[in-house]
């Protein structure tokens, strides 16, 4: 009985974690859908956005370190504090500028190239942004607080304690993440399915040349999606940054988002959410069962742990064997 309750708690937390993964995966999906580009830099984009947000909130001077090193000055801070809401807006603006630059300097020159080349270019971009983030804002670990609540939700704990005699743990940050993710997904689905821009975006993903030939401006579409993806990255950056501080490792959450994508399908926005939920629950439950002496221990006679890094991928792989395009991905067209 206890195991069942614990299992349920793990499951719910798995769902919540899944939502956090989905936030990162969403950015990938958008860009993939719009350009067929598998944007490895999405994680770094989240890091960059979070760094910028903290920098703006705390009035850090960008490139202070570089300037100081070059001119021997000692500037660090503008000495002002900007409220979170404005800072978020400003950061969103920065992300748009970044999107424009990426389009102008990178994507524009790679029109019509094979997907793997574009993929590689985004890895190059990831390196670049990682370096840029460090040079601009310093490599310190920064604390991010935009006023989101954190920690156990007492309400949930007490209610469940009353009901089941065991209080469930749910992080309030996760609850917020869920709400925000739901809003984002609804907005994005509506956008891509029902608007002209959304249709153009999918057209671009299919065939750059043909899109050009009907007058779709790749430039515009790409700037648009990269801006949106930048904004999604900002949201992901805020969530993850609140949890772990803003630091280099934030960029590695991309690796947690990949199995989510694979499972949900690279091209499906709802897939990113459902995939996230499945992965979140799957990896947490697997870890729970396999590392618990009462479960795996008594069933198999051994326990294993720290499985989460690979289990997500293996789980996604299993799904793919049955549906090679992911759960919700567009069918891969195979014709001759």
């Amino acid at each position: 009985m206890d195991q069942l309750l614990y299992g349920t708690e793990v499951l719910i937390n798995g769902l919540m974690t899944g939502v956090m993964y989905s936030l990162v995966a969403l950015g990938f999906v958008l860009i993939y859908k719009a350009s067929g580009v598998f944007n490895y830099a999405q994680g770094v984009l989240a890091l960059f956005a979070a760094l910028t947000l903290v920098g703006i909130m705390e009035g850090q001077v960008p490139f202070a370190h570089l300037i100081n090193a070059m001119f021997g000055t000692h500037i660090e801070n503008f000495g002002w504090n900007i409220p979170a809401v404005f800072a978020i807006l400003l950061t969103a603006g920065v992300m748009v500028v970044l999107a424009i630059l990426i389009e102008k300097l990178v994507l524009q020159h790679l029109v019509g190239q094979e997907p793997i080349i574009l993929f590689m270019a985004t890895i190059g971009l990831a390196y670049f942004l990682e370096g840029l983030g460090d040079v601009m804002w310093g490599a310190d670990i920064k604390t991010l607080d935009v006023g989101l609540p954190q920690g156990i939700s007492d309400v949930v704990e007490q209610t469940t304690a009353n009901w089941f005699g065991y209080g469930f743990f749910i992080d309030r940050l996760d609850i917020w993440a869920t709400i925000i993710a739901a809003l984002l997904v609804a907005a994005l689905v509506a956008f891509s399915q029902y608007t002209k821009q959304g249709r153009a975006m999918r057209a671009v993903a299919d065939d750059h040349q043909a899109a050009l030939s009907v007058g779709i401006s790749l430039q515009f579409i790409w700037i648009m999606v990269w801006s949106i993806a930048g904004f999604v990255a900002l949201v992901a950056g805020i969530m993850w940054g609140t949890k772990s501080g803003v630091q280099f490792s934030l960029s590695l959450i991309a690796l947690k988002a990949l199995p989510v994508l694979m499972l949900g399908g690279f091209t499906s926005i709802p897939g990113a959410i459902v995939g996230g939920l499945i992965i979140g629950v799957g990896e947490k439950l697997f870890e729970f069962i396999m590392s618990s002496p009462d479960l795996a221990g008594s069933w198999f006679g051994f326990t294993i742990s720290a499985t989460e890094n690979w289990f997500a991928y293996v789980l996604a792989l299993l799904f793919l064997v049955f549906r090679p395009q992911g759960l919700f991905g567009e069918r891969i067209i195979e014709r001759v």
């Binding site: 080349i117 590689m120 370096g131 840029l132 490599a139 690279f266 090679p324």
Partner: protein, 358 residues
């Protein structure tokens, strides 16, 4: 006309099928081989060996391996780090279990074991394609690393989970272990590089290579004209992993001497080798060398210039180095998406026309 092809006629198909059909190329190739085998070992020192030459040679093998898979067979893999780990741990277990057997055999066997593991992880490629496959290969990457970290048998139950290469000799020269001289290490790696390049070249110019390329270019059509996708993909995974395993074995046994799986064979390794393949040129053995050279040399060079020559603080240099490497990758992809190999070819084509523009 500096570089000429015209007038270089072939009268048999055998001549036409050789690796360097153009005399000038052939001469250049022999010259490089001569320098590599007979001159470099005598002038090599520790720094050059460990900072540049060994990693270059070892990564060249890994790139050839991965190029077979990605460049020739079109199956994108991000599991290279994991497969290198298989090679490393296999050679470690073999070296410690059978100390009397030659390390060369161990390394080849390690390649063979890696090939089997590669084939096993390659099986999903029958269903899964493109980026889905790429991401799926990460399952191999993470699982293998976890496994080697988790199961003490693989690291002979050492307290920390590290593996250390014991000293082994070839023809009386120590090639592994701390006492191995740079030239011995260099020569053994060079030997494997030549072997790998030669085998890869043979495979890719023959029917097997054509099957791979057919699968890469259009898998459905390939199957319809008679390519068995199972055997084509599995041979590609097998051969590729064989080389990658050898590279992993050399990386651990000859180059690093000690390794911890999470650090030495992490996902970054997978990306690094993939980069080499793409920057060098997909589907080109020369490209594998060029890519490996580029990505081994570039950071060393940048570091020496930024820190050594310009005297920047190391952290700034390191961050800017990241930016430069990133920017250069993008730059190269823009200039020539088909890699350094194609760039070289274009240069040759230009030279052929020189001094006329076209």
């Amino acid at each position: 006309m500096l570089y000429r092809e015209a007038g270089d006629f072939k009268t048999t198909y055998r001549d036409d099928g050789q690796t360097f059909p153009i005399t000038l190329d052939r001469l250049g190739y022999y010259a490089i081989l001569f320098v590599a085998v007979l001159i470099v070992p005598f002038v090599i020192n520790d720094y050059w060996a460990s900072a540049v030459l060994l990693p270059f040679l070892i990564y060249a093998i890994a790139s050839i391996g991965l190029n077979i898979l990605v460049g020739y067979a079109g199956q994108v893999s991000l599991g290279t780090g994991g497969f290198m780990a298989v090679g490393a741990y296999a050679v470690y277990k073999l070296m410690t279990a059978f100390p009397e057997v030659s390390v060369v055999i161990h390394i080849l066997l390690a390649g063979g074991i890696t090939a089997l593991v590669g084939i096993a992880f390659g099986l999903p490629s029958l269903r899964i394609k493109g980026f889905y496959l790429a991401v799926a290969t990460l399952a191999a990457q993470f699982f293998l690393v976890w496994l080697f970290n988790k199961v003490p048998w693989f690291y002979n139950y050492s307290a920390s989970g590290q593996i250390n290469a014991p000293e082994r000799t070839v023809l009386g020269w120590a090639v592994t272990g701390p006492a191995a001289s740079p030239s011995a290490k260099y020569l053994i790696c060079l030997g494997f590089v030549i072997f790998a390049a030669w085998v890869a070249r043979n495979l890719t110019r023959g029917m097997i290579g054509r099957k791979w390329m057919a699968i890469r270019d259009m898998d459905i059509a390939a199957e319809i004209i008679g390519v068995n996708p199972l055997s084509a993909k599995m041979t590609a995974f097998g051969v590729s992993s064989f080389f990658v395993g050898i590279a992993g074995a050399l990386l651990f046994a000859v180059y690093l001497g000690a390794a911890e799986v999470t650090e030495a064979f992490g996902i970054n390794k997978s990306f690094l080798v993939l980069f080499m393949v793409i920057i060098g040129g997909l589907g080109s053995i020369f490209g594998s060398f060029a890519g490996a050279a580029f990505l081994v040399l570039l950071p060393v060079l940048l570091k020496n210039v930024l820190v050594g020559v310009l005297g920047w603080p190391t952290d700034l240099a390191a961050h800017i180095e990241l930016m430069i490497v990133g920017a250069l990758i993008i730059f190269f992809l823009i200039v020539e998406p088909h890699g350094l190999a194609r760039l070289w070819q274009l240069v040759k084509e230009k030279l052929r026309l020189w001094p006329f523009p076209h």
